[in-house]
């Protein structure tokens, strides 16, 4: 029997789904299901298959399966949002929501209708952008800190005045102080960046730092943020991000910003 896999909800935009695409199972066509002044973006899936233990197990264990399905889900949502100059307000679903049939989906939409509308109002005219910061040159950063950090410099002066034997022990202590100060400075830089960009935004969310395994990069991620920004502020936000990127490169960091994304980070209710 055919169930319905739900990708996202959006404001009515009759006739607008940029391309015909296959759904999560690589078979069922993605289509629009109108409900009041909303549209649900769905595709048909075989219920038995998706309810099976095999699928549930794959979803926990099979990395390739997870990758394939997550990408398929994200692609449909992206497609439903539109591209270039037409961007529709939409609420992306978390992965893996399936309804037995149209009636069941409509029941839930009816029940949640007010909350859905509320979220759509909240994100109207706004875009989600994300910023990820990486530490590219650890040595360079540490060097910069050592050169200008007052606590470290003071300790060094103290040691310079000590007799040799004493200095040896103090140097061990200095190493600890240095690593503490570096950690503090790292936090300062990250917080500063976060706050600077926040000025352009309506809302912000700090997300988990992603491991190298996931990013596929040598450089460790040190900040991962999502911002919700008014459309008319996007240019300023981009400019500010570019400026900050120049600034932090001197300290051994770089940042990447991307958008507009479906508002995954700002549509919960």
């Amino acid at each position: 029997m055919g169930g319905l896999y739900l990708y996202c909800l959006r404001e009515s935009a009759p006739g607008y789904l940029a391309a015909s695409i296959k759904g999560i199972d690589g078979n069922g066509e993605v289509f629009v299901l109108p409900f009041r002044d909303l549209e649900a973006i769905v595709s048909e899936v075989a219920l038995e298959a998706f309810a099976s233990e095999e699928i549930q197990r794959k979803a926990q264990e099979d990395l390739n399966w997870i990758k394939e399905k997550a990408v398929a889900h994200a692609r449909v949502v992206q497609e439903a949002m539109g591209r270039d100059h037409i961007l529709l307000d939409l609420i992306p679903m978390k992965f893996g929501t399936i309804f037995k049939d149209r009636t069941r989906l409509e029941e839930v939409l009816e029940k949640d209708y007010l909350r859905i509308r509320e979220v759509l109002e909240r994100i109207r005219g706004k875009q989600e952008w994300t910023v990820k910061v990486y530490l590219k040159e650890r040595r360079k950063f540490e060097q910069v800190i050592k050169e200008k950090n007052e606590t470290i410099k003071e300790r060094e002066r103290e040691i310079a005045d000590l007799p040799e034997g004493m200095a040896f022990f103090m140097e061990e202590e200095l190493k600890e102080v240095i690593s503490e100060e570096i950690y503090k400075e790292l936090n300062n830089i990250i917080e500063g960046l976060f706050e600077d960009l926040k000025k352009q935004a309506i809302a912000s969310v700090k997300n988990k730092i992603l491991g190298k395994e996931l990013t596929g990069r040598q450089e460790p991620m040190v900040l991962n943020v999502a911002y919700l920004i008014q459309e008319e502020k996007i240019k300023d936000f981009n400019k500010e991000a570019q400026r900050l990127n120049q600034e932090i490169q001197a300290n051994g960091f770089y940042l990447e910003y991307s958008g507009p994304w479906p508002a995954y980070n700002f549509t919960t209710y």
């Binding site: 169930g3 739900l6 219920l47 998706f50 309810a51 699928i55 549930q56 979803a59 926990q60 264990e61 099979d62 990395l63 390739n64 997870i66 990758k67 997550a70 990408v71 889900h73 994200a74 992206q78 609420i91 992306p92 679903m93 978390k94 992965f95 893996g96 929501t97 399936i98 309804f99 037995k100 069941r104 839930v108 949640d112 994300t130 988990k208 992603l210 491991g211 395994e213 996931l214 990013t215 596929g216 990069r217 040598q218 991962n224 981009n238 570019q242 990127n245 120049q246 490169q249 770089y254 990447e256 910003y257 991307s258 958008g259 507009p260 994304w261 995954y264 549509t267 919960t268 209710y269």
Partner: protein, 101 residues
């Protein structure tokens, strides 16, 4: 400008970007069936294990999702099978020789 690191979500999406959204974000509404995907932390651990088990992939930057875990484990299995077969044959030969003596 080489320092400019700006991408449009529509054109440049890497897997990390997709996974962190689709797996950990988005609203949850009461469907009839819910497929529960491993969350991002568990996924990171799984990838780490996979990366650690495939020597070559230890060099970071190699994308785990491009190396099919089945494909990469197959050659090893085949190797083991072959070794097994050869040992059995050797054992058979030895046994026949002992019986003959």
């Amino acid at each position: 400008m080489t320092t400019q690191k700006m991408m449009h979500a529509t054109e440049a999406t890497n897997l990390a970007d997709i996974l962190e959204r689709v797996l950990d974000k988005g609203i949850v509404i009461a469907g009839d069936i819910k497929i529960q995907i491993a969350d991002i932390d568990l996924l990171t651990i799984k990838i780490r294990l996979l990366v650690a088990s495939v020597d070559k992939a230890m060099e970071m930057g190699i994308n785990w999702w491009q190396s099919d875990s089945y494909l990469t484990s197959k050659p090893k299995e085949a190797e083991l099978e072959l070794e097994n077969k050869m040992l059995k044959e050797r054992l058979d030969r030895l046994e026949t020789r002992i019986k003959a003596e």
